[in-house]
Symmetry: C2
Subunit: 439 residues, 2 copies
């Protein structure tokens, strides 16, 4: 009789395998964090001997969602400034508050961001911010899967005097996390407009040397493209291609303002993924990315929430919904981006963005990163097609359980690895103190 | 010492009065369903003697949201057919399933819709569907505030052999509900394209005779406008104006495809409210209504979810979020429709749509229709500006309590007036039976 660490039973399991199999009255056996069996309960239950067996009841189990572009610590700025023009928002609100950041603040607000993600079914995220060691520390406290790197800028940040320091932190992190299966590092030049040619070359060299992917903001708005044309005579994408950045696996955030040539360039690039952030693009009025076209060209697409200053949530269910709705409107075609395509982006697309091919579906050999939704929530009744519900009917708050590498991290309202009440207290104290300083 | 039925205490109360006062450590006294006092807890608590006193703790109390356009019973069709072109969707999926409707089915699925609304902070809705007596019966079971009328069509429906019958039901309902403060009737011709000139005239006559407002779908898509131009030589709005319909108080759903002349016509109309349904307009690819322009012209605007077949939720928090985000993108301006404006639409705008001026804010003399959100939810932390959170950060599932006329209808996951578990059972049984019949 084969042994496993955990045996889960559920009314429905959505596998996201190549046939999108939906299993009813199903079970999933996990051993050492990986899926060792998945199938009908009546077949698995008599066979597998588990250390822990759990019947989740009337739930839908699905692969954990992957938030492929975020700045978790920006929960600090959730609702701090909205409805402003971009420059006033950045210069009068966001930047002054970010100047007050410390490693302690970044760790606490990252933990808050990870709490929100776990509670809404996200098991992995791709982050870029300042004080990134603190972000990794928060990820370890929460148990979430994290790919991230220190944001690299041509100017000093709250955490680094210069870009060399940011790259040194990135390299340190790559070393210190190398034994941690849940933590990965990406070299993270912030964007073309906030960096310099030599900085980008140094980023590429580090990425090549340590075999790390790149993560950057790219072509987020028409203004960015105009500025790049003026400075470099090229679009941001053409400029990155020219500098060799797109020969390295890369996760490209936003990619809103693109020409046909830019799209061609992306199809020819090596292992790039576009990180689509519809909520942020709408709130900041950046524009609608050409996602349906990119999808039909075969460009890999993942979804991200961006930071809580421009969303203002880190909730991938809402992001799936926005992606599906926005592009129907823009294309004037209700058939564009059907639910399955959007769900792929939030799971398998996210796995590609993370360059992590053991994620994104529930199949033997993959990590047991998953979440479970209560199917008795009023907004999930009745249920004809689970994938439709994930994209159009769920809000993320139907989540009753979230697990990474077979470890339960969120269970019916409770975080298993940290004291959420204490975190709330700390969050309130720090926020109050920062508000007093700002006055 | 003055007496009241209920005295509520809360960390924050957002009044939605003309100054948008936000009260901290506040109380609200309710007597016979109406607000008799609101203010600082330290002033009210020693003065008011209450039959029931309740400290809601760390919550934000706000006026109950008003869902100004819905078809609650269409929860039956939630996720039943998505991502299809409009005609195929209607003719191959929606209409055949609607042909199976009975009063019993409409009552149960309306109750499910009302459950979803109450659980997400909606205290009133404006509904239009078939078997409308069953919808009123469901509203009485749930306790929600309802304005509605039988949908009037030029052709037979599942509930009426002809439009005369639909108007007779409407008139009956107006009589039978006249003593019920939570129930109101509207004369509800479905739309221009599904009715006839004589039917519209009969609707107007009934509305005038019984002093009832009108509720209809209007200018939902460019296709509808083109068809009306062809049939009547006028846009749907001009056509309604010509037939005198806009002299009567009227709630106009969608109003997506409009000319400048149409907008002028709406500004000159007597007591019309536009019911904006951004989720449905996006999902069906109908287009983006000219909401910011209408708002600046002073045309009253309310928000609605539409039915669950085209949304697929009846959640006003998501609808506020979509309205705020969509119009920023369309206008290419992040300052468009700030949070306060959108929140007004979901509260005071909804009250106007219902022609019910004792709703939409928490002020002495108004009905105690309210909801309370748990401020310790991860996605509501920290909290600098509650109105921002309502529009950008909340999903509706932070709601812990919802009350209509001072009566608690939803309390920390429990519906007080009906057995939700039993409803779920019935919903599953009926859905299974209909699926079997359809095969």
């Amino acid at each position: 009789m084969p042994h496993c660490t955990t045996l889960l039973h559920a009314k429905n399991i959505l596998t996201q395998d190549s046939e999108r199999n939906l299993l009813e009255e199903a079970s999933l056996a996990i051993h050492n964090g990986k899926i060792v069996a998945i199938g009908p309960r009546q077949e698995l239950a008599p066979v597998w001997q588990a250390q822990e067996e759990r019947d989740l009841g009337n739930v839908l189990v699905l692969p954990g969602l992957i938030n492929a572009h975020t700045h978790a610590a920006m929960t600090l700025l959730r609702g701090y400034a909205d409805d402003l023009p971009l420059l006033a928002w950045l210069e009068q609100k966001i930047f002054p508050r970010e100047a007050q950041l410390t490693a302690e603040i970044v760790e606490l607000f990252s933990l808050l961001g990870f709490a929100e993600m776990l509670a809404t079914g996200t098991t992995a995220c791709l982050d870029m911010y300042l004080f990134q060691k603190a972000v990794f520390a928060a990820a370890k406290r929460a148990g979430i899967r994290l790919s991230a790197g220190e944001g690299v800028f041509a100017f000093p940040s709250a955490s680094c005097a210069n870009w060399q320091e940011a790259l040194a932190i990135t390299e340190d992190l790559a070393q210190s996390t190398s034994a941690e299966s849940r933590l990965e590092v990406m070299v993270s030049p912030h964007s073309v407009y906030t960096t310099s040619p030599e900085l980008l070359t140094a980023c590429l060299s580090l990425a090549q040397k340590r075999n790390l992917p790149l993560h950057l903001h790219l072509s987020e708005s028409p203004q960015e493209v105009a500025q790049c044309q003026q400075s470099h005579g090229l679009s941001p994408i053409a400029y990155c291609a020219e500098r060799g950045l797109l020969t390295q696996p890369a996760a490209l955030a936003h990619v809103v303002a693109v020409s046909d040539d830019d799209l061609k360039c992306l199809t020819e690039a090596n292992a790039v993924t576009v990180l689509h952030c519809p909520g942020s693009n709408m709130k900041l009025a950046s524009g609608a990315a050409r996602i349906p076209e990119m999808h039909s060209l075969g460009i890999p697409i993942a979804l991200g929430t961006d930071g809580a200053a421009s969303n203002n949530q880190l909730n991938m269910f809402l992001e799936m919904n926005r992606a599906a709705l926005l592009h129907k409107l823009v294309a004037k075609n209700p058939e564009v981006l059907p639910a399955g395509t959007v769900f792929d982006m939030a799971t398998l697309g996210g796995a590609k963005a993370l360059q992590h091919h053991d994620l994104g579906s529930l199949e033997v050999g993959k990590w047991a990163d998953l979440t479970a939704l209560d199917l008795s929530a009023p907004n999930l009744l009745p249920c004809y097609a689970p994938i439709s519900h994930l994209v159009y009917a769920a809000t993320g708050h139907e989540v009753v359980l979230t697990m990474v590498e077979g470890e339960i991290l969120y269970d019916h309202g409770t975080f298993t690895r940290f004291d959420y009440e204490a975190l709330c207290q700390e969050i309130r104290q720090i926020t109050d103190a920062l508000q007093r300083k700002a006055l």
